[in-house]
Amino acid sequence: MSLRIHQDHSRFKQIVRGKIKSNLRKYVQKGEMIGKKGKDTISIPIPFIDIPHFKYGHKEQGGVGQGDGEVGQQLSPGAVQPGDGHQAGQGEGDHSLEVDVTLDELAQILGEELRLPNIERRQNEKIVTQKIKYTGVNTTGPESLRHFKRTYKQALRRQIAMGTYDPARPVIIPTREDRRYRSYKLQELPETNAVIIYMMDVSGSMGDEQKEIVRIESFWLDTWLRHQYKGLEARYIIHDAVAREVDRDTFFHTRESGGTMISSAYKLCRDIIKSDYPKSAWNIYPFHFSDGDNWSADDTRQCIEMLREDILPGVNQFAYGQVESPYGSGQFIKDLREAVGDSTNVALSEIADKDAIYASIKDFLGKGR
């Protein structure tokens, strides 16, 4: 049954969506969304969604309260209720409402606003998952699947047939034979799976700001790819002169000193793909971020060789993001551009600062691969 309010509710959601869309650039640049992420949803502050009135500033207002306490005693945070009962923001200039948006919805908005093409799946429907579908009713089964209504119906039917049913005292007691159970079938559902392999240079020259950029950018890449693929895995590789695989948290919070050997990361990436993600079954997305400084021209040569021979042939897209830092020479992207820039499944992007993230996302995802 559909309630009348659902129209107004979906209109509200539509408006929220429009607000997010028009403010998307701002949201993309700010890292705050990542902190507000729940399991499937994210809380987004939407400015100017409520209806403005002439009213008093809350801080002006104060009021009368009730309870214990000496004069001068502070009221605990959150004890003070905004004057009009709505969730108005604190302070001047900020009347926003926090709205929960699903990540899927957010990805859709991102796609529409950046005009991202849907990804052409390289591997289609190879992986299969099983889903339980309830199909009927049976006389046997586990107790947890007992169908109460059908069981009692059956018992009632039996009692009426046997003449033991008394309408004045409608007590129905099912016997063993009356019990009915839901029966199910396993359905096989094709599903497409994908893996993102994040690589990041954590050598001394990558500062906190650079890492913040990578963090924000990877949030949006995750969100988009998750929207495109049902099952998405993510692996994380950090490297300086050597590479190692870490968990997500370590990935974003490690800082090492020392040199940079990009080839170490590519080597590990290659091995992970080889052992865990056969290209016949997986859509593979390696993303690499660094400030563009490599140890030697020789190492860069190794990288390119590995890309050409091992990595590029098996992946949907290889992406390299170069985050500008005061220390890096920024040479690596030039070398890549020269060597593999023509390949259709390579995306290169230079990210000067947080403002550039928006455009960079488009660099990475604009090819639809």
Binding site: D8, R11, D50, Y56, G57, G62, V64, E70, V71
Partner: protein, 497 residues
């Protein structure tokens, strides 16, 4: 969809209604409907009504209510509409003791709606009118387009509190003052002073007198203000004088009607919730409660009465005040003798066994609104008993804190909070400001500044209806300011007040 009462609920209702009548409550016929959570949230989002015009903000309200319920933060207990008959809702999953409590509470509200003077002018057929409003808006949407209509509703709603909260009780037309002025203005233009009556025609020939009269008229027309006196019903002013399309004025008048319908509820919140709580508590504890329901009842009741330091709970404040009045009139703690007694011991044991409490509260529920209720019956003893205090924001410590427990200050702050339903008072003072057709409003500043960003956004909406620049005079940090929006830019000008 809503269902009528099941036989067991109908029986409970019969019982509770009987108790309510026995206690002397006097209400319109009250119809209960049984609804699911979803339906209750919907109806609550619509302000209690089953049907409202389509608008996204009901959806927003609904989302917040549903979420509050899902997260276990809030639960709506009762909803009742001031209408004849009254409509009220029961949540289908509630236990019997909850249902009885809600019914008893609802009869309290219905009695209040029927008898309190504030509601004397409210529309008792509002359910039908709301439905008609919805139909009209839908038809405008079909004709004009949803975007345009919705956009206009957004702007109109932004001004919905700009009504004259007390207008239903004040007859402003015909206006004796205006008639008086008019009469005075008819005093003759006499021309030059004439000593000898037969010379009059020569000294003041009629052409001369006519031209003099004309001059005076013109002079008057120039200084004539529009509106002649400040008009607090800004919406009415816009309806009469703004260049609105027919559909726009129809929608604006709908918004205004609904705002006036809700105004008295805002003005009697403490009394009304207190009254309903007083009666649910009385009916339940004296009559309806079964032994095995006591714990559940106590749990529900205390849930409603809970207070937080930085918020005033109208249920709690209200019920305590009603009880205080009842006790005082039972014990004769009022009048000259009581007021002049300053022997503390005597005051404490004061009991003249008058037993006029019940009678008194029934009388009070007729003739007061929150402001007069608090002003008349909030005593120093009560404020101390109830631990009332004034709180405010401390900029230095960046936190809210208790400022004062002194009775006078508490009472004044409370009255100030209630004045004009806690909304700033704003009037139209000139519809032809600067002789350029600009709209000038004035905020009657009472010590509290307007919220700046909201004021500018609202001004923008006034301008879009007036279609000429809109201005408002207010005060920030004790300095006079004229805010102006000309359709493109906001400006702010310091002025002397």
């Amino acid at each position: 969809m809503p269902k009528s009462l099941t036989p067991p609920l109908a029986k409970l209702n019969q019982e509770i209604e009987g108790h309510a009548r026995e206690f002397g409550l006097d209400f319109f016929e009250t119809i209960f409907e049984v609804v699911s959570y979803d339906e209750l949230n919907m109806v609550a989002a619509y302000g209690g009504f089953p049907t409202r015009y389509p608008h996204w903000r009901w959806g927003m309200e609904y989302e917040q209510l549903s979420k509050g319920y899902e997260y276990g933060l809030s639960k709506i207990y009762e909803l009742v509409i001031n209408n004849d008959p009254c409509y009220a809702y029961l949540l289908e999953s509630n236990s019997d003791v909850d249902q009885k409590l809600v019914m008893a509470h609802v009869y309290g509200h219905c009695d209040f709606f029927k008898n309190n003077f504030s509601f004397r002018h409210t529309n008792r057929r509002m359910i039908d009118d709301m439905a008609n409003h919805a139909t009209r808006v839908r038809r405008w949407i079909d004709k004009i387009g949803v975007e345009k209509v919705e956009d206009f509703i957004d702007r109109a709603l932004s001004l919905e509190n700009l009504i004259d909260q007390h207008a239903p009780h004040i007859r402003r037309n015909p206006d004796p003052q205006r008639a008086e002025d008019e009469l005075k203005s008819n005093e003759r233009v006499e021309g030059f002073k004439v000593n000898r009556e037969y010379m009059r025609g020569f000294i003041n020939p009629s052409e001369f007198l006519d031209s003099q009269r004309k001059k005076v008229e013109e002079e008057k027309a120039k200084t004539k203000k529009f509106p002649e006196r400040p008009q607090r019903d800004v919406l009415a002013f816009l309806l009469e004088h703004a260049p609105l399309e027919p559909w726009e004025s129809d929608i604006l008048s709908i918004i205004r009607d609904e705002a006036y319908y809700f105004a008295p509820q805002g003005q009697t919140k403490i009394m009304n919730e207190g009254w309903a709580s007083y009666w649910h508590s009385t009916i339940m504890t004296r009559r309806a409660l079964k032994d095995d329901e006591v714990i559940d009842y106590a749990d529900r009741h205390s849930g409603t009465m809970g207070t937080r330091p930085g918020a005033l709970n109208p249920y709690k404040l209200g019920i305590e005040l009603w009880r205080d009045i009842e006790e005082r009139w039972n014990k004769g703690r009022f009048g000259k003798e009581w007021d002049e007694c300053d022997d503390l011991r005597a005051r404490r044991s004061w009991d003249k066994k008058l037993n006029q409490g019940r009678e008194k509260i029934f009388e009070v529920r007729k003739h007061y609104n929150d402001i007069t209720f608090i002003d008349t019956f909030l005593t120093a003893e009560f404020a101390i008993d109830q631990k009332l205090f004034v709180y405010g924001f401390n900029d230095k410590r960046n936190s809210w804190e208790i400022l004062d427990r002194e009775f006078r200050k508490v009472k004044n702050k409370l009255l100030q909070q209630l004045t004009n339903f806690g909304q700033p008072i704003i009037e139209v003072v000139d519809g032809n400001h600067d002789n350029r057709g600009e709209l000038l409003m004035a905020h009657k500043h009472d010590g509290q500044d307007l919220k700046g960003d909201y004021a500018r956004e609202t001004l923008r909406n006034v301008q879009s209806l007036w279609r000429r620049p809109a201005c408002i005079i207010t005060r920030y940090d004790n300095k006079g300011v004229l805010l102006r929006f000309d359709g493109q830019n906001h400006t702010e000008k310091k002025i002397d007040l």
